[in-house]
Symmetry: C2
Subunit: 411 residues, 2 copies
Amino acid sequence: MNFHQHVLPNGLQIIGETNPSALSAAVAFWVRTGGRDETPDVLGVSHFLEHMVFKGTQRRNPFQVNRDFSLIGADNNAFTSEENTVFHAAVLPEYLPQLVDVLADIMRPSLREEDFNTEKKVILDEIVRYSVQPQSAAYDRAREFYFRDHPLGNQVLGTTESITALTRDQMQKYFDSRYTAGNIHAIAVGNYDWEAFTKLIEKACGNWPAGQVVRQHRHEVAGPGGQKVVTVPAEKSAQEYVIMMAPGPAADHPLRYASAVLSTIVGDYTGSRLYWALVDPGLADNAGMGSDEYDRAGCQFVSYSCDPENAAECLEIAREVLAEVQKNGITEEELQQAKTKIASREVRAGERTSRRMFTIAKDWAYLNQYRTVDDELRELNLVTRKSISEALERYPIDQMTTTAYGPLEKL
Amino acid sequence: MNFHQHVLPNGLQIIGETNPSALSAAVAFWVRTGGRDETPDVLGVSHFLEHMVFKGTQRRNPFQVNRDFSLIGADNNAFTSEENTVFHAAVLPEYLPQLVDVLADIMRPSLREEDFNTEKKVILDEIVRYSVQPQSAAYDRAREFYFRDHPLGNQVLGTTESITALTRDQMQKYFDSRYTAGNIHAIAVGNYDWEAFTKLIEKACGNWPAGQVVRQHRHEVAGPGGQKVVTVPAEKSAQEYVIMMAPGPAADHPLRYASAVLSTIVGDYTGSRLYWALVDPGLADNAGMGSDEYDRAGCQFVSYSCDPENAAECLEIAREVLAEVQKNGITEEELQQAKTKIASREVRAGERTSRRMFTIAKDWAYLNQYRTVDDELRELNLVTRKSISEALERYPIDQMTTTAYGPLEKL
């Protein structure tokens, strides 16, 4: 494995890891913009724009975009999160030139009025479909309640109102300000020639407008906390979805490994404290703990879903589990077990070219660093019971902001 | 990559592919039994038994089973299909001995009455949860209607009635007759030592009872066909789910590559004929074509889901697409594109240790052959427009048995 980097005169960063024993190559454009970068008048524009990127350019109509990915057997896709919009594809190594040609081309979309109006309907449908899935609806409500007026609480899809009102010109303006070369990096991972790749990117992207972007509201956010539960009655949901949130380490915070180990011990999907307390005895369908790491903000969350009849008992038990850990920490055996679990998952994720690409791109976006799988494992190994105590002190888990979504009127 | 094989005196086959450049190792026990091997009095026993395998042995209670996987960071899981029950896990190479110890141990479960009764409730819940998901319910109804009295139409989960009536002793009898050494193979893939692995398996499984198993009803099955649509009114479903089925190549049939290419051309999730005819214009949420390959039987299916208002128009269009392909075949450009697509997906799947393991295990179960990724690609490359015509002649797609599940009373 070798790491490479290069910056074009317009500010576009190119990074890559070459691995001659891989069988494929994956490429992505990583744009540092997402839901949290949207002002209230353009909520959902990042995600809508992600769709429009596939709707044609000066050189290709939507059919040709699809066809040109198909011709080379590219497995291409894209996603939009709170902070990033990512366009990616994987191919057999011999198709890398064609892949860069089409992937770079679509990054300069025409945003034609007609396509915009057609796609708007698709987005509005997607919002409705998403809103009737209790799990995702519960998550959105919990985030709104936790982040309150901070833009990390924005719904990435936007709302029916915001999307209906959005105009093509607003999207164009957002595109012009956020899709500048200085706010994007190009990455390739797998089996390919680095020099050839940089030349392809330079040719395809060298004329993109320069421009750095500064993100607003980069600070930690704490929800209301306390013991109150906000219930969101949703009679169509059969199960009750309970989500608890508290501050956690940001994406570049040194305590994030301790926090990951803690989450695994408390709430891994199997063999964790919450598993044994809620899932194994059949009280909850599932229960877990995890974390979302953002630019200068982070949050830890605990969630479970269960028969509404069990929701109160589950809440009491979950709070006991969290209070016990907050008070007495974790055991040495739990620590070792969790480290082994995480190491195993990271190593196996590292075997997959596309997954490896996302890890490298994320490290670059948040840490401005390249790190090998071994670097990850080394940092993981440095986690001790002491650093977990530090994490618990800095980011307590016994006063989490709690939202319940489901049939219950009150919890 | 090297392939290895060995047979224990009791008939247990051990196979493996070693890859020194992999970072992990994956192990599985592949039992050749599933829903189609069940008599009407024990419907669902294979899947229920899969759950019971994790509920303890003479050496371990359920807690210890879970703990011993956790201790080594194993990502373990299992699945039951119409023909196979598979138990698998992946670990870092140094944990292979402990992994074989626990994975082999659980393959001889105690089937304790108390655990059986507790788990029965979990299974009954699972049946209910599954039955309210329109997509899976639609699929089950379509299979029942297509396979009629052939056991390939059995629901793998069983029914509320069959599971309620099932006894521990029936499960024990099923276990004794199907989990014999001659009906199981052990497999390891990734970075590990083959000699050491066979010794571990020999030590752990050498005393398993021998015994070959003969599968019943190994023959092709053709549904009613024709142009009639069976509608299954389901008022709780918002969308209409339409599934069309016809005979297709079995798992060892030489035409299965031609059939896979055909499915990709007609119904890949993107860029296929059905995609352009139904999904791109917004008539259907999704549309696809695929195949299920079984032991001496196979079927091709076309499916789409859409707003009930569009269901009739979609059906007409889908039938036109299928009739056109049946009559005039496909183009050379489509052929090349589909081959590239499939090759790309196969190569990338081959990069993942666990996915590679399933492919090798399946080849062994159905073809009694080891095949490299290159072997696969070579066979794929032999597909021509002529062989696709042969597949269409042998397995026509213009008279598919059609089931519609959703709000409509009639389609």
